[in-house]
Amino acid sequence: MNSSYELPLDEADYNFGFLDEYAKREIRRAILKSICIPGYQTPYASREMPMGRGFGTGGLQLTLSLAGPDDVLKVIDQGSDDSVNAVNLRQFVSLTCPGLTTTTHTSDATIIQSRHRIPEQPLNESQVLVLQVPYPDALVVVEPSEARRKAMHGEGDYSRLLTKLYEDIVKFREITISHRYPTRINGHYVIDPSPIPRYDVPQLNQSPALTLFGAGREKKIYAVPPYTNATPLAFDDVPFRTEDFHDDRGERIACARCGSTRSFLDELPLADGSKRWQCSDTDYCDQQLQLKSGTLTGARQ
């Protein structure tokens, strides 16, 4: 088309953290605003990242705008450090943030980027949890228009969401929302806490760590600041319930690997028709094994 255009041969160097400084500054401002207004979805000009929209580009932009050379990063997907997507994201951050170290140990990390899980081990004040978000708005199940949802949030109008929960009980005798459970933050905004299981929602409540949510494709950032109330929507007579891991005899199923009866489990169908249950959080599972065998090092005990 235009043969005069030459290939840029001097482009091998990317900025620290891939994003240019203007982009990082904008994201940091959006983070500050989100912390000031807990649960409010702050719009921002999400940049295209070199990986698919929907693969954690929102979380990645948060991580890249926060990370410095002294940070220790943990990336998990489905609770696992070795899941393909987690590996991919971790490699990319390491590549573009020279000096930054990575870890699989929850307790060692300063930034934890996760998709679909909150680590089993409670986080502390010096840690930031970054969650990847496909749908930033809890109201999307009842209202497709973003403009109308924005007004509903502003007015604290969650009546249609509560009606949906009520209708679920009428139709199925159960609230059918399995994950992305609508959660009220600091008594006002209701958020979509990202596709974490209901099991993880209580971890958000009064958490000492800052939790940031990044939706790259939908261009929104929101936050649950440290020590903030996070209350899943429920009724006085129908309490919020997490995933049930009891067998037919009413016994809590244990992880087949570490034996823990206090973790979120992955269910694995076996060829013979039976099932195997195992911790979804692989670092937690390893830690339990080490505790059992007495090889856990003092610092992490």
Binding site: G54, S80, D82, V84, E174, D266
Partner: protein, 378 residues
């Protein structure tokens, strides 16, 4: 054992990369790597599509993106977009005058003849879509022969530097409303998120880098009857637009280069004006990088339908700014469609938990209660 612990994610990713690479190069001994020049020139419409959807006018980089994406337009546009997103914005481009375009093609379906004349130029519009088997064995000599005979038959008369626009004629006659001067700064979709309602410039910028097929599908819904735009192409032009930028030192407007652009202006039927103003035709505008007429036409139709929706409220999907603008971006849409391939073990576990609990509640409700059994026994 039926279960293998999910380990070795990094190995799997590296393996996938190698597998893609062997498929890209597995043409056998006769295989010759595609040159960027061959992609840019022989697949010029593909390159056009990628520069436009990638939102970066760089045909050579687009050709490279096409090569590494193995011809996938969505992937290629994505690579170009990701490259672009790391570049800071240096200045705001002032409006460019498309009257100055060095045209290769220009038509109007509104008038038989137009000032400056109709110029069919390169188009498939009237080509017979028959398989050209002779192309299967083409050689470089054939290229030279085609070039030679083309040049021999070219008329000697020079082509005018610029052509007047058909809409100017309509405007002068009062059939179109007078052109308003720019009321606000253009909306930069690469630096600001869309928060509705958005100005028309945000809609135009979003559509200019939208995915061709997505724009076409929604515009087609309007053409078929989910909407009533009734468009006539006042002018469709394809050519090289000189880009004028303020000189970094003097500030004087200076030509910095030129970009291949397709531009389309559709005239739509007039509407009753509540303010009692004189009725006029209305205009829809479409423009994109590269040679992509279907995209420019679709965009022009949607620009008109969106203006209608912004003014009167949407009566159809094609008139709803939120519906159109949030669903036409190829990078967003393909990314999200692809993301379903990622593991969803945890959320599916939650789904199963809900279904099993609901099934249990359902079964318990079906079992006759002790009370009912007593009644039946009596």
């Amino acid at each position: 054992m039926g279960y293998v612990a999910i380990k070795g994610g990094a190995d799997a990713i590296n393996g996938a990369e190698r597998a893609m690479e062997i498929l890209r190069t597995a043409e056998g001994e006769q295989g010759e790597p595609l040159t960027l020049s061959a992609i840019e020139h022989q697949l010029r419409l593909l390159t056009s599509r990628v520069v436009s959807e990638g939102g970066l006018y760089h045909p050579k980089l687009a050709a490279l993106a096409i090569k590494q994406a193995q011809g996938d337009t969505l992937e290629a546009a994505f690579a170009l977009r990701a490259y672009r997103s790391t570049k800071p914005r240096l200045l705001e481009t002032p409006p460019q005058d498309t009257r100055k375009m060095r045209l290769i093609r220009r038509i109007s379906s509104a008038f038989k003849d137009i000032p400056g004349g109709q110029m069919l130029g390169p188009t498939f519009d009237y080509a017979l879509r028959l398989m050209r088997l002779d192309l299967a064995t083409e050689r470089p000599e054939d290229f030279r022969k085609i070039a030679g005979s083309f040049l021999a038959r070219s008329p000697n008369a020079p082509v005018a530097d610029s052509f007047p626009k058909v809409v100017d004629t309509l405007r002068a006659e009062g059939l179109l409303p007078p052109l308003h001067s720019r009321q606000c700064d253009p909306f930069d979709v690469t630096r600001e998120p869309l928060v509705f309602p958005v100005p028309r410039s945000a809609a135009l910028a979003t559509m200019a880098r939208a995915e061709t097929g997505s724009l076409l599908a929604i515009a087609y819904s309007s053409m078929r009857g989910y909407g009533d735009i009734h468009p006539t192409i006042a002018e469709l032009r394809v050519g090289y637009l000189p880009i004028e930028l303020p000189h970094p030192v003097t500030g004087e407007m200076t030509e910095a280069g030129e970009v291949l652009v397709t531009e389309c202006e559709v005239v739509a039927m007039y509407e009753a004006d509540s303010a009692g103003k004189r009725p006029t035709f209305t205009l829809g505008y479409g423009a994109c990088f590269g040679h992509n007429e279907v995209k420019a036409i679709s965009m022009a139709i949607l620009d008109r339908s969106l203006q209608k929706g912004m003014a009167d409220g949407p009566a159809n999907p094609s008139e709803d700014p939120e519906f159109v603008l949030l669903h036409v971006d190829g990078v967003d849409a393909m990314g999200f469609a692809s993301h379903y391939k990622m593991p969803h073990y945890v959320t599916f576990q939650s789904d199963m938990d809900r279904l099993r609990t609901t099934q249990k509640a359902h079964d318990q409700a079906l079992e006759p209660s002790p009370h009912q059994t007593e009644r039946a026994a009596q």
